[in-house]
């Protein structure tokens, strides 16, 4: 009898073998590099290299530590705390804690979705991104060395990230790490984990829900005015799209889709439109409190992240029932997944309960649409904003104490606007609407209990209602073919760089800032990519022709493209694009090779990110995760509250030595990119800075010439002067901006003492180094010829 186990077939006769498909074995796709699934110590050499060149600069937002019972400890004046940790260590420790929080949010979100998606579709959904994407998950390939083939494969990414976050969070416990540099290195590690978690999170929803990709995704409605108030309105807030998708599916299945509005705030809004082009985007985080207060929503559904902690109270205020759908945000509510939908609807519609938690998305879908239909009718006569008389009375109460201004994160002149309003002029108050971040702190400190948020909204009601804009649907990864198309223009400089507009809505001067930044660079043929709040907020303005930024510029990864990549988790595709450059043009092996790839990006790919309204801990991990891959980040003025910056010291030229891979020699380079993360006070400061940060040591003359042209042009345009060290970027006369070449040569001769041969118009002496077309830069010793 045959038994299980090995046996040998001695011969075969009349055997027909039909093979449906032949696939290459997993292990053969690329040789494994030195750092697959790295522990922090495996990548520490890279983190420390970055920290050596871009040393942390601390801005202690809080100079005490109150994490253990020895404390509080005052760390000022070089004092150490009871545990022995000093100020720098404590600041860096907090950076690490913030990054762990942010990465946990992305990873937790992804893991949660993966469970749901496997429940819904099974683990075998293939990773099929079409014929134009070959490198399907660049971060995952690079960091953990896995090429995912099916949905279930992404568990490997989350397994790795979860373990690593626990290890890193462990290091923040009292009595662990003692070096600020090692805390910073660990924060870099977590930033890298964050990028991986985001990629996995976005990819699983893309492949399960079949989100659209590419440049030709449609435009969808964004703005309060787009929401059809004649229909029942379901408002979804947060980042985890599973419950919203269930609601949309339910509406479709019950032929109710056109009867009900599904409007969203934050990334759930973006991801909804990737699933259903009819879904409406109210706006980004800044609109949350104000839209809820406007009372337009009949039912509010929250999932996770960036939701107001007092959302239940706010919903109650406008008599809109609230459903919490995620175990990370339960608000003390009873979990009712097990109860019949009719019962839950009855309890909420009757007002017996103001809010419930329902963790089962199917149940959410059963409850919410019906509830919205009922509530629409019930809430018909609800008035939420002040009446004219009330408005007058509120304004008259103000006695100009100025508490609101002090409480306002942006220091908006609410007091003066209120005085003007009292005097009958609503305009100053209405102007503040776009500059307000919608936090509501002003109301908390108002001694006269003026509902300032509502008062302000009422003055701007007309403009708010007319907010009807277009946003291109988030399109996920940049296609490999797009990368190939832009290869030549990127090296020739006709595309001077890539600007990534990411992050939250804590803008110092309103949403228009991100529009300004994005449009300035798109007009100059940079590629502008955007995600999350930034992608939404930049849609709220129009050019002279009446076009929104998404209508004015193409949606492809191309010169002058304005590319909505998607939600916060889609951010990872921006790193992914840079990684693909290394894979596609240089055929660098990605697998287990993160340090080499990040080194490639740092020295070659002229990209810079701007998180102008960075607010959350997610933004901290996102920013850190961008840095660690070799892309510099500019944050807005509030970014200083993240406690550190990584500022390159161009006064110490030894920090800018880079190896030439060809012969192992050291080349002293210009500071490019000069910083890895730092804040700018104003948009006028940020724009030229971003252009400056797009320069790379490897730029060829035509590339550098155009980069320098824009940098100098933008300096003059926004700051009225050139930065006094601009010549540091000039390697030869061919780098000089064309239109002003002679003028600049004269300046270099006169003000900087450079020697010019005026007959040939060549620079004889002055530059830090000569451009060498054979220069093959790296910061990694192991890549030098002959190194093993």
């Amino acid at each position: 009898m045959a038994k299980e186990g090995l046996f040998k077939i001695g011969g075969l006769e009349n055997v027909q073998i039909n093979i449906g498909k032949i696939v290459s074995e997993e292990d053969e796709w690329e040789p494994m590099g030195p750092v697959p699934c790295p522990e922090v110590e495996d990548m520490r050499h890279w983190y420390m290299k970055l920290l050596d060149r871009y040393p942390p600069f601390y801005a202690p937002y809080c100079d005490m530590c109150c994490l253990c019972t020895f404390g509080k400890c005052d760390l000022t004046g070089n004092k150490k705390g009871a545990c022995g940790l000093d100020m720098r260590g404590q600041q860096a420790r907090f950076v690490l804690i913030a990054c762990c929080m942010g990465a946990s949010a992305h990873c937790g979100h992804g893991r949660h979705m993966l469970h749901s998606l496997i429940d819904m579709f099974g683990a075998d959904v293939p990773v099929d991104l079409g014929t134009q994407i070959n490198v399907e998950a660049p971060i995952m390939r690079t960091v953990i060395g896995v090429k995912p083939k099916v949905l279930g494969d992404f568990a490997k990414a989350f397994d790795y990230v979860e373990e690593q976050i626990a290890q890193m969070m462990d290091a923040t416990h009292t009595g662990q790490e003692g070096s600020y540099l090692d805390y910073e290195a660990k924060a870099y590690h977590v930033g890298m984990l964050d990028s991986l978690a985001k990629e996995a999170s976005d990819m699983i929803q893309m492949i399960a829900f079949k989100y659209p990709m590419g440049a030709d995704v449609p435009l969808v409605d964004i703005g309060v005015g787009c929401v059809d108030t004649d229909k029942p309105i379901i408002l979804v807030i947060g980042h985890n799209v599973i419950p919203s998708v269930a609601i949309i599916d339910y509406l479709d299945e019950h032929d109710m889709r056109d009867l009900v509005e599904v409007a969203g705030i934050c990334c759930t809004a973006i991801d909804n439109t990737r699933y259903d082009f009819k879904a409406k985007v109210v706006g980004a985080i800044g609109r949350q409190l104000r839209f809820v207060r406007s009372g337009v929503a009949d039912v509010i559904v929250v999932d996770e992240q960036c939701i107001r902690a007092d959302i239940v109270e706010q919903a109650q205020r406008v008599q809109a029932p609230l459903i919490a759908t995620n175990n990370k945000a339960l608000y003390g509510l009873p979990e009712r997944s097990g109860d019949p939908a009719e019962e839950i609807i009855e309890d909420l519609a009757s007002g017996k309960m103001a809010a419930v938690a329902i963790l089962d998305p199917e149940k959410v879908a059963e409850v919410v649409p019906k509830l919205a239909m009922i509530m629409k009718n019930k809430r018909k006569n609800i008035r939420t904003l002040p009446s004219d008389a009330e408005q007058k009375e509120y304004a008259a109460r103000c006695y100009d104490c100025g508490n609101c201004v002090l409480a306002c994160p942006q220091g908006l002149p609410i007091d003066r606007a209120m005085q003007e309003l009292a005097a009958g002029n609503p305009e100053p108050m209405s102007i503040l609407f776009d500059k307000c971040v919608g936090c509501g702190r002003c109301e908390q400190v108002c001694k006269w209990e003026i509902p300032i948020v509502d008062v302000m909204q009422k003055t701007a009601l007309k403009q708010v209602k007319s907010e009807k804009f277009k946003m291109r649907v988030g399109r996920g990864p940049v296609l490999d073919t797009e990368i190939r198309n832009v290869g030549a223009p990127l090296v020739l400089g006709t595309i001077p760089g890539v600007i990534a507009v990411v992050g939250c809505g804590n803008y110092p001067d309103g949403t228009e800032d991100v529009y300004k930044i994005a449009r300035e660079f798109a007009l100059r043929k940079y590629i502008v990519v955007a995600t999350g709040c930034g992608a939404m907020d930049m849609a709220l303005y129009r050019n002279e022709e009446g076009e929104t930024i998404y209508e004015e510029f193409p949606g492809g990864f191309e010169a002058g493209g304005v590319v909505n990549i998607g939600s916060c988790v889609s951010n990872a595709h921006i790193h992914g694009a840079a990684i693909k450059v290394a894979s596609i043009f240089a055929r660098r092996n990605l697998r287990g090779n993160m340090d080499e790839i990040a080194d490639y990006i740092l020295n070659r790919v002229g990209a810079a990110g701007v998180a102008w309204g960075a607010m959350s801990q997610k933004a901290a991990s996102i920013g850190t995760g961008v840095e660690v891959w070799g892309v510099p980040v500019v944050v807005g003025p509030h970014g200083a509250k993240y406690r550190h910056a990584h500022i390159g010291r161009k006064d110490d030229l030894t920090k800018w030595d880079v190896y030439n891979m060809r012969d192992g020699s050291k080349v002293r380079c210009e500071p490019a990119p000069e910083h890895l993360i730092l804040g700018a006070e104003t948009v006028e400061e940020a724009i030229p800075l971003l252009a400056r940060l797009c320069m790379r040591p490897v730029d060829n003359p035509s590339g550098r010439q155009i980069k320098l042209t824009h940098y100098m042009d933008l300096s003059m345009k926004y700051l009225g002067a050139y930065h006094d060290d601009w010549p540091i970027f000039v390697r030869s006369e061919t780098d000089l901006p064309l239109a002003r070449k002679e003028e600049y040569l004269k300046v270099l001769e006169k003000d900087y003492g450079w020697k010019i041969d005026w007959d040939s118009k060549k620079i004889l002496e002055g530059p830090l180094r000569k451009q060498d077309p054979q220069f093959d830069p790296t910061n990694l010793e192991r890549l030098l010829k002959g190194a093993e």
Binding site: G20, S24, T481, N485, K525
Partner: protein, 476 residues
């Protein structure tokens, strides 16, 4: 420069659209003749900066009108030569577009220019300002131009008269480009522009071979090397010819060793299989060998469907490039299809069996008439089997090779265990993405390919069990 001219000059204005309602005047374009011409002259013939206007100047043209237009530049300098005229002339489009309020489209005798009302309002009043700015940019970017002068014409009769002469020059230039071949020159040009991303790639640009990205031809390389001989474009002494058909030269090989750090020592410029040119990352088209038909297919970046071999551009491109010689795949620039030496080592067009219809249409003037109909597109065939039928039906030249190989294969049939039962006209080679395909040379190389069976149905009528020798000893 802004101080001197009433308009800003900046690359950001490239692509600036001037719509009809914002237009002050239109010059050339679809309705009026217009051309631009740059000519080389000797140093004493050119007066640097001189401007001549024939016909009404900007402010004398009727607002909203469409006008004839000619821009004729003459340049001089020690390194200036007739062969550089077209390169210099093509830059006109870039430079004039840098001018705010001045839109320039197309080239040669197709130019279409619009001047905006805003520009006029801001002080643009004469073509002299445009000419001076253009000359300034030329001299800054291409310092081998030591002197330059300009004649602008709006007078319809004069434009027509000059256009005839210009057309003759364009025709001569085209003939020169067409007739200039690798054997006519001593210098080729290397291009390392893309080394900022693809650090190991070197393009060898010759009269018969444009760069892979399509951006640099031999004339461009020559001009750039003249400007900055140590820059990313440099001359390569071609040296002795080793293989005329393949396009192998001692000078190129020496450079190959040097620039690839010793990784490669030979390049055949017009070969697909034997020491082919390296591929970078931004090649416009990829060629792929299909052993089943012994032919070569080509697919460009814009074609997103899978090719008959089942692989799309991005998949194949993912296995090529990075400055490596990838036997079986070859990245090229579109213009290379028009080269008379197009993969001539491996049969040239007679080896081409498939390309996307849009690409075929685009290069149809380069395809020999007798082969054109025999090259399949996605409209005829989408799979290897369909392609095979197509080629047979059309009697494509590669079909002859099949027969020979089948004969060879039959001779060796006993030794070849995989090919026989497949019903293929020639020996079949399995390959997976990422594997390098060698041309089928008869004789079965097992190749060390590992096959993993999944969901395979194997029907076996009888199984006999025999205890294998030694298993008892090893078994536990």
């Amino acid at each position: 420069m802004g101080e001197e001219f009433p308009f800003d000059i900046n690359p950001m204005y490239e692509g600036e659209r001037i719509r009809k309602k914002g237009m002050y005047v239109e010059l050339g374009g679809p309705d009026q003749p217009g051309f631009e011409l740059v000519r080389a002259a000797s140093m004493d013939e050119v007066e640097d900066g001189r401007f001549t206007m024939i016909g009404p100047d900007i402010l004398d043209l009727k607002e909203g009108s469409q006008n004839t237009y000619a821009m004729m530049f003459r340049m001089a300098g020690e390194l200036v030569e007739t062969d550089l005229e077209s390169v210099v002339e093509r830059r006109m489009h870039d430079f004039q577009n840098y001018i705010q309020g001045y839109m320039h489209l197309n080239q040669r005798y197709d130019i279409w220019v619009r001047v905006s009302k805003d520009a006029v309002k801001k002080g643009l009043k004469s073509f002299e300002q445009i000419a001076k700015a253009t000359i300034r940019l030329y001299k800054a970017e291409l310092p081998f131009i030591e002197k330059m002068e300009a004649t602008f014409i709006t007078d319809p009769d004069e434009v027509k008269k000059q256009l005839d002469g210009a057309m003759e020059i364009f025709a001569q230039r085209d003939a020169r480009t067409r007739d200039l071949h690798d054997e006519d020159v001593d210098l080729f040009y290397g291009c390392t522009l893309c080394q900022s991303f693809a650090p190991t790639n070197v393009c060898v640009v010759t009269p018969d071979r444009v760069s892979l990205c399509g951006a640099i031809n031999w004339f461009d390389g020559r001009a750039a090397a003249n400007v900055d001989p140590e820059g990313p474009n440099f001359a390569i002494e071609k040296g002795e010819c080793i293989d005329e058909i393949g396009g192998e030269y001692t000078g190129v090989n020496e450079k190959t060793v040097e620039l690839s750090g010793g990784e490669y020592d030979r390049i055949q410029l017009h070969s697909f299989f034997d020491a082919p040119h390296t591929s970078c990352g931004c090649f416009e088209v990829i060629g792929f060998y299909m052993p089943e038909v012994d032919g070569i297919g080509w697919v460009d970046r814009d074609y997103t469907e899978p090719s008959p071999n089942g692989l799309a551009f991005s998949t194949m491109a993912g296995n090529t490039g990075g400055g490596k010689q990838s036997i079986g795949f070859l990245g090229i620039g579109v213009e290379y299809f028009r080269s008379p030496k197009f993969i001539q080592k491996d049969g040239g067009w007679n080896r081409v069996v498939w390309m996307p219809s849009r690409l075929k249409e685009r290069v149809k003037d380069g395809i020999p008439a007798d082969i054109s109909d025999k090259i399949s597109t996605e409209n005829d065939t989408k799979t290897i089997d369909e392609l095979k039928e197509f080629l047979k039906a059309k009697d494509h030249p590669v079909v002859k090779n099949w027969i020979e190989e089948v004969e060879e294969a039959e001779e060796e049939a006993a030794a070849v265990s995989t090919a026989g039962g497949m019903g293929m006209p020639m020996q079949m080679q399995q390959f997976a993405p990422g594997q390098i395909m060698m041309p089928a040379m008869g004789g079965g190389s097992g190749g060390g390919i590992k096959i993993i069976l999944k969901n395979a149905k194997i029907t076996i009528s009888e199984v006999k069990f025999e205890e294998a020798e030694g298993s008892k000893k090893k078994g536990k």
